[in-house]
């Protein structure tokens, strides 16, 4: 009898049902699951980049291809411009988390201020990326194209690609670098652009008092998660394209 009555006991453990084991709002969990799946997509891109690099006898030297500061210096300044871009994105991540923090205090004025700074930071980043793409396109890199595309004379091909290599020169390596650079930074830039649009929508909702009426600024947290994820991806893109 005693063991039977134990079966009828109502369990009160977190996973026994009838409660929220994670005590996280549904939409926030779904944002997390989306970001995990998005992380898989970016990982696949970057891992394929690594696999291509390993499969080629030689590879483009980041110190040589990323030497321009658009509008200031055409070459001779390795990694400086991407340093500025990285700083902008980290900065906009901080303003985003400050907006989330202001949301916890239901301070509409501060949320608006930090959201505007975040949007401006995102726009500055995408603008910088557009300048960098323009520069690389100008010197001959593009999807399916490198500075030696169209040349047939081996001496001319190696002369056209020489500025971008430290070790041996390979047309295929330059082509694969170009394809993967524009695909991966493009996919990341697309994410930043979507993030800016989401931030603008949320800012409009804040100004409309939507969250004031709802009594919670939880939506800022959700869009914040997405924004930090975009910054997180950039940390990896920066390492694998610009440092290594």
């Amino acid at each position: 009898m005693d063991s039977l009555s134990k079966l009828d006991e109502v369990k009160t453990t977190p996973w026994a049902g009838g409660r929220e084991p994670w005590s996280i709002e549904y939409g926030k969990i779904m944002m997390w699951f989306f970001l995990v799946s998005d992380a898989f997509t970016f990982s696949s891109f970057l891992i394929y980049y690594g696999a291509q690099k390993f499969a080629q006898p030689t590879w483009i030297d980041a110190d040589k291809i990323f030497q321009s500061i658009p509008g200031i210096a055409d070459h001779g300044q390795p990694l400086v411009f991407v340093g500025i871009m990285t700083f902008i994105l980290i900065m906009s991540s901080v303003t985003m988390v400050l907006a989330v923090e202001a949301g916890h205090r239901n301070s509409k004025k501060e949320v608006v201020k930090w959201m505007i700074w975040t949007i401006l930071g995102g726009m500055a980043f995408v603008g910088c990326q557009a300048l960098e793409w323009t520069h690389l396109h100008h010197v001959g890199f593009w999807f399916g194209q490198n500075p030696a595309t169209g040349l047939t004379d081996p001496a001319a091909i190696s002369a056209a690609l020489q500025p971008y290599f430290t070790n041996d020169i390979s047309y295929t390596a330059a082509l694969q670098f170009s394809n993967l650079f524009f695909t991966i930074t493009g996919f990341h830039g697309f994410h930043v652009t979507v993030g800016i649009i989401l931030n603008i929508i949320i800012l409009c909702m804040v100004l409309n008092n939507t969250f004031e009426k709802r009594g919670s600024y939880l939506m800022i947290e959700k869009v914040g998660l997405y924004w930090h994820f975009v910054d997180l991806v950039w940390v990896f893109v920066f390492t694998f394209f610009y440092l290594i």
């Binding site: 977190p14 929220e20 005590s23 990694l79 901080v94 290594i244």
Partner: protein
């Protein structure tokens, strides 16, 4: 419902990110990035003290993972969620580690074994 909102609210206030903590994490991220630039621009590019190679790349990857930890744990607030949620969102990356190992081995194989054989012209005659 009222209870539910209360717990969410208490959670956000109790162990969340204060303004001071936010700038602390920002300082760490900025410092790590500064070290990366010091090494990449200074030690490697200008002064030629460190040569490019696996050890340097490992160093960059470790710094990258530390930065990733600070962004996910503090900015994305994951450190302050329930343990089961943290495990749920992070354990799947075991597959990514497996995929990295798999594809880098594959890349090395392609380099060593597939590029050393030429392609032969097909004359069109067969002996069957």
């Amino acid at each position: 419902m009222a209870h539910h909102e209360h717990t969410l609210d208490a959670h956000a206030h109790g162990e969340g990110m204060g303004v001071k903590r936010i700038w602390q994490v920002f300082g760490i991220l900025l410092a790590i990035t500064a070290v990366e630039f010091l090494v990449a621009l200074g030690f490697v590019h200008h002064w030629h003290i460190v040569a490019k190679g696996p050890a340097l790349y490992a160093f960059y990857v470790v710094l990258t993972l530390i930065k990733a930890y600070y962004i996910v744990a503090f900015f994305m607030h994951l450190k302050f969620e329930k343990k089961s949620f943290i495990i749920c969102c992070s354990i799947v990356f075991i597959f990514i580690i497996y995929f990295i190992v798999l594809m880098l081995i594959e890349g090395g194989y392609l380099l060593n074994h597939l590029q050393e054989h030429p392609v032969y012209k097909n004359s069109g005659t067969s002996h069957h």
